[in-house]
Amino acid sequence: MSKTLKLNGDEVEIVAGESVLELARRMGQEIPSLCHDPRLKAVGACRTCLVEVEGVRRLVPSCATKAEEGIAVTTANARIERHQKALFALYMTDNVDASETDDSSDPSELHALAERVKAPTTWPRMQHKRFQRADDRNPYIEYRADRCILCARCTRYCEEVESVSAITLAGRGAETTIATADARSLLDTTCELCGGCVDVCPTGAMTEKKPLALKLLPARKLEKVRTTCNYCGVGCQMDLNVDRTANNGRGVVAKITSPDAGVLPNDGNLCVKGRFAYQFIDHKDRLTKPLVRNQEGLLEETSWDNALQIAAEGLKKVAKRHGPDSLGFVSSSRCTGEENYLVQKLSRAVFGTHNVHQCAAT
């Protein structure tokens, strides 16, 4: 017999181990949440996902409440609505204006939810400004305290997923902030620059520096292209966030983001190389024209046709003079499967040799 509980009056089945939030979402209920991440232990700190459980006097955080047999859960009623409106109104008094969130960092879930629950936006802004620590000279990650809601997704990710614990909640009360030990630059901590903090941040408080500096399109106008990382053999799935209008229409990879948790193999995680080390794409050292070695022994630019012709003749000449097995074809584990297929076919079918291998054949 499967176990059930009552959700807004309906009897629904429970998947073993799930939370009320997970169950309700599975059933199509919209419950706001900000501090929740399936990879992290539930802390119920953002208070956005509160629901009513029959017989429990206080509202409970659905993320941290187990879906238990026989309980009766209400996810929407006047009390919950009033709570959501007031809570988001409070958040809005202590955060930047919605108009300021339309930049290249991920769109603010906070502001979107505030709009969705129709939270009042007219409450007086907090006079006291949040403490912003001095600029950190690391080139990737920026922390903007005025957008932070202290949901601690970043610090918990750093501890629970990365096991690095380079950042922490620091201070207390309204002065609480996200800090490193002794407020040092991330470069001088145990931080491995994986950028998970940027990825999990629901408000754009933790954000990537480069696109901000480049003044590209706001994040909502970037096109996400799902692809596979080009570094190690894990094959992380990632999204190129492309600004098609930049670079004379060639397009610019404004940033790389990870898909949601649950997408394999990386479950929403990326490492420093995957998430950040993409600036080589537009590096000035990129080869842009074919080169051939001239009479003086120097490389000079030439046309594609000329380069292809010289290459073909050169290879054919060696094969003719020394036999096909005097040629070696070095393929690349960095290139695609199709390209590797073509190299071995070139070697075998066009030149007739099995002298083909790739750089990391072990």
Partner: protein, 530 residues
């Protein structure tokens, strides 16, 4: 999760290192194997660790504020001393108080600050020894706690508990109707039984001696004068629950009580009593929220003192994830008498609810102090025990900041858990502060709001943002802004703080303002009274 001896030492190690000076976190991290940022994050939570530059802290708790605490602060600031304000130091009966390094100075005068010549080290208050005592009622051996009596290290109650067994002890506590004296009033017998029923081992016993509610200083007095009752009560609890380790968490400013407890432990030990029970004294480092039981557990574990979600409750998932009994000092101190004299005897001592209660009273009364009276005594009763009112009664706060303000018309109301709860207030820790008509209620509300703003742990938004929002709203009112601009959303914010906050601090933090608005509406709007 196994007990982590090293993590447990974190806050103590930081204290030893002189607080969070640059490099201290790295040093402690290397010593304990805890990531540096976690050391830093934990330390920065506690004002006595996080701000090691500040050497003087002037109490601006309600009673001290009424006695010129802010003036002392201004004088010290003018003299360029490394000074800051701080929350209640549990010395309300000797206001104003200040903290010099980690020593509490009381009855501090403006002259004391002025004559220091700009050097914080020279600031003095009234001379106090380790055993500084406040006023208490006279010796009466009929009283369960009898603060005026002398300690006994005979272990009589413990011996009786051993002979009648745990079931009988818990039955007696149940019969006594003993409610938690820390503020929530939860029946003690249910907690004991709850821990006892847990299969997971070991069980822990924790003493909550992090007294910090403005107006409250009864636990201080109890530990100073009757540490025997506290320790014997703990030993009985450990016996009943099969616990070996007993943690005593004292606020960091309680040097005197710490020494009194250490001496008492030695005395019992000389008498070969409580063998097999280990008492571990832990010091707090300046965080009122650690009086919240789950925040206290976090602090004991060497973490930031942020309350946990409940459920699970500590009786099933407490210290290091193990079943844990947490009791307030006064609650545990009632246990020896209950064991010796029986539950019915204790219950009959009360006026409207079971037992006697320690009322700390301060502010505008003649003899501020701690008085053991029947639970359910009225303000007039308590004030009479304290030598009577000074001036004409305007308002009072019956049980700390979280109980808000009540008007003089409530002077005949029983100060117990039920009667106060009925009118939206609470008995709390029964730290009664009396205000006469010389006081500006708005200024006093502001002090309470600042208290909550400073002591919010910051974990959840309703409390973190709400406490500051309310204080800023009141500031607008004090600046003479029209009330729709200043106090317009206060009711809604207060409602949300109560509905949305994780712990009792946030849930009650709006009460000083909302209760004052309810009972003293005329005090708001308009120019500041000077």
């Amino acid at each position: 999760m196994a007990a982590n001896d090293k993590r447990e030492q974190l806050l103590g190690a930081l204290h030893k290192a002189g607080g969070l000076t640059p490099g201290a976190a790295a040093k402690v991290s290397a010593e304990l194997g805890v990531p540096e940022a976690q050391v830093y994050g934990a330390g920065s939570f506690y004002h006595l660790l996080g701000d090691s530059e500040t050497k003087l802290r002037v109490c601006t708790g309600l009673s001290c504020a009424m006695r010129g605490g802010r003036k002392l602060l201004a004088l010290a600031q003018d003299a360029d001393m490394p000074v800051a304000e701080c929350s209640c130091l549990a010395a309300c009966d000797r206001a104003p108080a200040l903290l010099k390094d980690r020593s509490v100075l009381v009855d501090v005068t403006q002259e004391n600050v002025k004559s220091a010549g700009g050097d914080w080290r020279n600031v003095q208050g009234a001379e106090l020894a380790d055993d500084w005592n406040g006023r208490v009622g006279s010796n009466n051996s009929e009283l369960p706690m009898n603060l005026g009596g002398t300690p006994s290290f005979s272990g009589e109650a413990f011996a009786k508990a051993q002979s009648i067994g745990a079931d009988e002890v818990i039955a007696a506590i149940d019969e006594s109707g003993l409610q938690g004296r820390g503020g929530a009033g939860f029946p003690a017998a249910i907690k004991w039984g709850g821990v006892r029923a847990q299969e997971a081992k070991p069980h822990y016993v924790v003493l909550n001696a992090d007294e910090g509610e403005p107006g409250t200083f009864k636990d201080r007095e109890l530990m100073l004068r009757r540490p025997d009752l506290v320790l014997e009560g703990l030993a009985i609890a450990a016996f009943c629950l099969g616990a070996q380790d007993v943690y005593l968490y004292l606020r960091g400013e309680f040097t005197g009580p710490w020494i009194a407890l250490e001496k008492a432990i030695a005395s019992f030990s000389e008498n070969k009593l409580f063998e097999g029970v280990s008492f571990h004294l832990h010091s707090g480092h300046g965080a009122y929220i650690c009086g919240e039981e789950t925040a206290l557990l976090e602090a004991l574990e060497g973490k930031r003192g942020m309350p946990r979600l409940k459920p699970p409750f500590p009786h099933e998932n407490g210290l290091w994830g193990k079943p844990t009994l947490i009791q307030n000092v006064e609650t545990i101190a009632c246990v020896p008498a209950i064991v010796l004299q029986g539950g019915a005897w204790f219950k009959a001592m009360g006026a409207t609810e079971p037992g006697t209660k320690l009322y700390s009273i301060s502010g505008d009364v003649k003899e501020p102090g701690t008085y053991e009276l029947p639970l359910g005594s009225t303000l007039d009763d308590v004030a009479a025990a304290a030598g009577g009112y000074v001036g004409e009664l305007l308002a009072f706060s019956p049980g700390g900041a979280s109980s808000g303000f009540l008007p003089a018309s409530e002077r005949k109301r029983a100060l117990d858990f039920a009667a106060l709860s009925k009118i939206g207030s609470m008995l709390g820790s029964a730290g009664v502060v009396v205000m006469n008509t010389e006081s500006d209620i708005r200024e006093l509300v502001r002090e309470q709001l600042i208290f909550f703003e400073n002591e919010s742990c910051g974990q959840c938004a309703p409390c973190r943002i709400g406490t500051r929002y309310l204080r800023e709203a009141l500031d607008r009112d004090l600046q003479g802004k029209p009330s729709e601009q200043s106090l317009g959303e206060v009711a809604e914010v207060a409602w949300e703080m109560n509905e949305g906050s994780i712990c009792g601090l946030g849930q009650a933090a709006a009460l000083p303002l909302t209760s004052a608005l309810q009972h003293f509406p005329g005090a708001f709007g308009g120019e500041k009274r000077k």
